[in-house]
């Protein structure tokens, strides 16, 4: 093999290495005690993403009721037009605020719907990890004890 082709190959390899180094490593977040069995919003984010620096974003659509019909089953939806790697959902007043983390591989829409338990009226926050940065959208969900519904 002549010198030129070796250099060409070497050039390709170093470009690839450079490419990986430029973007943060994308790790599929799995269940971990440190992130989930954690009473602190800030610390759970730290454990999950290595950072808790967040910026509010209008590009995140957070759907949750203003008044939950029943705190045991609150339907929520988070979606974003950003290129998201992870979507997390926090329920501030729950003993352990982090409720779910969804991993969004390439080819999957940045959207997740689920049903969450909320113990009482609380702020809820959707956290989107995009290009190594964290973005949020929040709202309040009122949770009541019916009293007459039985």
């Amino acid at each position: 093999m002549d010198r030129r082709s070796i250099l060409k190959i070497a050039g390709t390899i170093s470009a690839a290495v450079a490419a990986t180094a430029a973007f943060p490593r994308i790790v599929f977040a799995a269940y971990s005690q440190k992130a989930f069995k954690n009473p602190s919003v800030e610390d759970s984010l730290n454990q999950l993403f290595g950072s808790n620096a967040t910026t509010p974003s209008d590009d995140i659509k957070l759907k949750a009721p203003d008044i939950a019909e029943n705190g045991a089953v609150v339907p929520i939806e988070v979606s974003t037009s950003m290129k998201a790697d992870q979507i997390a959902f926090m329920v501030k007043e729950n003993p352990n605020p982090l409720a779910i983390v969804a991993n969004i591989p390439a080819g999957t829409e940045a959207m997740v719907k689920t049903r969450v338990r909320m113990g009482k009226t609380t702020q809820v926050t959707a956290v989107v990890s995009s290009n190594g940065k964290l973005y949020t959208a929040s709202k309040e969900v009122k949770v009541t004890i019916g009293g007459c519904g039985g």
Binding site: F28, A29, A30, Y31, S32, F36, A72, V73, V74, P75, E77, V91, N94, N96, L98, A99, I100, V101, A102, N103, I104, P105, G107, T108, E109, M111, V112, K113, T114, R115, V116, R117, M118
Partner: protein
């Protein structure tokens, strides 16, 4: 029989997935009649695979409602096989497969 029910419908190259998993999702806070606590027992991880790759995964806390529901969308086609599996905190697992409609 599997605890996982899957509805997967493709439209314009996007597969709309809705899944319901039968699981009590015990928080560990409930008490039995004798006052003793019902131990925590919940699904911690869910994985969805199709066409040989992982199309979605999620990690749950005990604050996900009983009989967890999950909805997501990925790029795929009618007839593709979609497999959804879960693992819970006791190490128990389950999975189900369906063909995308």
């Amino acid at each position: 029989m599997s605890s996982i029910r899957i509805k997967a419908k493709e439209r314009n190259g996007s597969v709309d997935v809705k899944t319901l998993m039968k699981h009590n999702m015990e928080t560990g806070l409930r008490k039995k009649k004798d006052g003793s606590k019902i131990p925590e027992h919940w699904i911690t991880d869910v994985t969805a695979e199709s066409g040989g790759k992982t199309v979605f995964t999620a990690a749950f806390n005990t604050s996900i409602s009983k009989d967890p529901y999950l909805a997501f969308k990925f790029a795929g086609n009618k007839g593709d096989t979609l497999k959804i599996s879960w693992k819970d905190n006791t190490g128990k697992t389950d999975s189900a497969e369906t063909a995308v409609k």
